[in-house]
Amino acid sequence: MTVSEVRPTSMASAARGWATASTIALPIVRPAPVPDRPELGTDPVETLAAEVRAASGDGRFVDGLHLAALLEARGVTDRAARVRYGYRDVFELAESVRVRLDGPAVGPPSRPPRRREWRELFHGGLYLLPSVLFPAVLAAVPRSPLAAVVVAGLLGWVWAGGLTWLAYQHINQGDDAAAGRLLARGAVCGVAVAAALGAAVAVMSGVAAAALLVPAVTAYQLASTVLVFYRAEARLVALMSPAVVAGGGFVLAGWWPPTPVIAAALACTVVTFGVALRRALRAPGDATPGRLRPLMRGRWGTFALVVLSTALLAALVLLPQAPLLAHHFEVLLATLPLVVSMGFVEWRARRFGERARELLHEAWGPGGFRRRLWWRLALDVCACGLVAALAGAVVLAGLREAGRLTPAAQAMAAASVLLAGAVLLVFVLAAHGGYGRLCVALAAALGAQAAAPFLGSVALLLVLLAVALIPSVGRVRQYR
């Protein structure tokens, strides 16, 4: 009897119509009845079924051939199937045993274990850490180190982004040692490049301190990148805490000389950098020499887009802030909500990916999966904006209390709120590998800064990123 001969129930017809909206001909039939159990004095087949259940773990077999393979591997031959069990051959015996296995009730689908980690939430504090030292730097340097700060910020951000992406290519291949070696070498090279750039900035701007400031800031950024890569945030805080105490003391006391504060900061940075290198080089395993080139074959284009998108994001965030450093400190303070909320944004970005993978294990089709992910993403964007808004409210209240609340500061705080949501979308799009789309959106927003206020360009970025995510948010293969 073929399917076309089977008269489907109304439910079956409805299901088929719903499923395909067209005619399909499933070549599925009701398998022939299982041969009757032979009349034997005892029931050796039941005994065999019990043995199979014990041997196979869950007692579930895809079909009779699956069980026949096991029976043969356990020594059951066609002859034994005939003589001992009364069936024609092992295949027929297997069909009979499989029916008797009455496999265990199918439980709920297994889900990937949830990582209950909160460490990203503290990253905002880590990113805020160097700013405690800026007042001392500004006091020690006779001329504005604006160019040095911008160069160091951009270089450190881009170098760290590219370096971690490369390191993860090794991690994805299971080569932790190669990743560690790459991080260590890359960090040293990054500081060397920063030293060269710092010297150039010192010559061009006439600010001699730039020669020290650029490599020092870059060294801190790369050291913190490496330690965060290895989830050693606590060690980073402990190592930098003397510098933070000194910087905080300078701000609060108001009369401390800046030079010892800067010396303490430099010493802490050097130690932290050394510890980070040591940690990277102690990654387990033997690094396979010369692995990066074959690993990156065909991926250099992607790497270029990774670097470009990181540079564009850094430029988008840092360039509007740089001119404020010298004369509009209250507006600069209004960017703090973004920095503080970055940890929350990172946490939500990770949770978004995890939640997507959890949803894959639920009973949704692709349409339901896509709808739920968009809903989840919208909630996460709002949550990131809300956290930044709360931090912004605190900063604005403080400025108001100090009598330094200006419309520019308010606009910057509002832009920071939108930027927190936009950065979440940046992380999600990057996780989807959509670096090309990311570059287009960031470049457009950066270009808009020339014609529109920062708040407007950030709003545009938010919209462009949402559009850029349309092809990939609901795509199942992005989350495997």
């Binding site: 499923a19 096991l70 199942v476």
Partner: protein, 498 residues
């Protein structure tokens, strides 16, 4: 004549019985021009054989490396054909096997057409793996899963153990793996007079593509039963059950489709025929071709070791079930206290090797039972024992058995695959996973030198009569000639058994 020899995970990048056979074939038929197509993991596997001069080219098809090629979008007609093929392909992944031979054959033909549609989609520039992983394809697979349950009823025995709903996670995992396995359909078809697959399964995709494109005759040899080994891999495996259903249904459908389309099928033992016939092979196109060895390379031993010794020669692998051999040896030692067990072979599965070492320690056999590592000289290894044992749970037609027999050693083997056909009445064949039966046979042989010598003489003669390399090569050479001719004439090739 140009012959393309296709294999998966074996020649020329791995050692083992099938690779030995491939090497013998290429060396032994120098009048043909050969090309080897090796399905491998990522293409970085080193060549482990000295390649003969008449092997003109080795083409590797990496199945599991990250694919990065940029493909063009196929035309509308190709896409339309692809969607129809995809429908049949999805149905095959979820449908249980049909016990009726006529309808089972229809299932296999439908799957074969689906594979051809996928091949033409790839030939037109499409990316099969990407199309399979698309949301639309995953949704269709879920729908077909539901359809089967609706048609048969959820409580139908054929669906026992299946989860009610196929999750996207399971569907995506399965199609990602299947998409990689289908890569041979996307490489340019090989040009040859005969495409010879050393096994069923993914290798046959290469031959199918050549057949569809150039009408090249296709021959499949099966040493073991490819499908049976895929099933055994999934007994108590880690994969979610739904993923196992999809993967094994794919493998079963592929093996059946290959039997349908092959011009000739060469099981390497009578035992294999049972599985092949069960999965739709045509008996009129099947010839049993036993493996063969060069007897002069495996001379009969003139002496015996001083201590009663049991020898194993082969891979250290769970399929060889060395735990049973070690447990049996512990029983042998109760009656033959000075007995020795020497296990020769390379270990790829290191945890399994360690488990063997641990078992030897636990059974207090340290010193008496030893893992010797690879045997640099197989003949010396066979000669170092009074008895050669093989306690596998799955075999094709193992070389180690006929090599040991040629060396004048008596075998104690488990009754799997074509082992009993090789040994016949010249050794002991016992049930697998039965240490007591293995121990009884070994003890009997160790304690009865006359029986041992008598069986050894008969074992060597059996090899000379039936399992020589010359016979095997003659049979294949004859089969190639007839395949390359316009039509098979139906006669049994010289040296083959019907």
């Amino acid at each position: 004549m140009r012959v393309v020899l296709v294999s998966e995970g074996t020649y020329p990048q791995a050692l083992g019985g099938v690779s030995v056979w491939c090497d013998q074939l290429v060396h032994g038929l120098p009048e043909h021009r050969w090309q080897a197509v090796a399905l491998c993991v990522d293409g970085r596997e080193p060549v482990r054989w000295k390649l003969p001069e008449n092997l003109e080219r080795v083409v590797t098809i990496p199945l599991w490396s990250a694919g990065r090629q940029r493909l063009r979008r196929p035309g509308r007609a190709t896409r339309s054909l692809f969607h129809a093929a995809l429908e049949d392909f999805m149905v095959a992944l979820v449908a249980p096997p049909d016990p009726d031979p006529r309808r089972g054959a229809a299932q296999r033909r439908r799957f074969l057409l689906a594979l051809r549609g996928l091949h033409e989609y790839a030939a037109g520039g499409g990316d099969i793996g990407s199309a399979l992983r698309s949301n639309a394809a995953l949704g269709r697979l879920q729908d077909r899963w539901d359809d089967v349950a609706t048609m048969l009823g959820r409580g139908h025995p054929a669906l026992a153990g299946r989860p009610r709903r196929l999750t996207l996670a399971d569907a995506a995992q399965a199609v990602a793996m299947i998409g990689s396995m289908l890569r041979p359909l996307a490489v340019p078809p090989v040009r040859a007079d005969v495409v010879h697959c050393a096994m069923n399964g993914l290798s046959t995709l290469v031959a199918m593509a050549a057949k569809w494109t150039y009408d090249t005759p296709m021959l499949i040899s099966e040493h073991g039963v490819y499908l049976r080994e895929r099933y055994l891999e999934q007994v108590g495996g880690d994969l979610p059950h739904a993923v196992a259903v999809l993967l094994l249904s794919f493998q079963r459908s592929l093996a059946g489709a290959a039997y349908q389309v092959a011009d000739a099928l060469a099981p390497h033992s009578e035992y294999n025929r049972r599985w092949q016939l069960r999965n739709g092979a045509d008996p009129d196109r099947m010839w049993t071709m036993y493996n063969g060895i060069a007897p002069e390379l495996f001379p009969s031993a003139r002496t015996e070791p001083e201590e009663p010794t049991i020898v194993y020669v082969g891979r250290i692998d769970p399929l060889k079930d060395l735990h049973t051999l070690i447990r049996a040896f512990a029983l042998v030692r109760r009656r033959v206290p000075d007995a020795r067990l020497r296990i020769y072979g390379a270990a790829i599965d290191l945890p399994y090797r360690d488990s063997c070492t641990a078992l030897i320690e636990r059974l207090d056999l340290v010193g008496a039972a030893r893992l010797e590592g690879s045997a640099p000289d197989a003949v010396a290894a066979y000669h170092s024992g009074n008895v050669v044992a093989l306690t596998s749970i799955s075999e094709g037609f193992p070389y180690s058995v006929i090599e040991a027999m040629a060396c004048g050693r008596t075998m104690v083997c488990t009754n799997v695959g074509g082992v009993s056909e090789a040994v016949g009445d010249t050794g002991f064949v016992v049930p697998p996973r039965d240490p007591a039966a293995v121990a009884d046979a070994c003890t009997t042989l160790l304690l009865d030198p006359d029986l041992r010598r008598d069986l050894a003489v008969r074992a060597r003669q059996r090899v000379l009569d039936r399992f020589t390399l010359a016979q095997s090569l003659e049979a294949y050479g004859s089969l190639y000639e007839r395949l390359a001719a316009p039509a098979l004439d139906g006669r049994t090739p010289a040296g083959a058994l019907r």
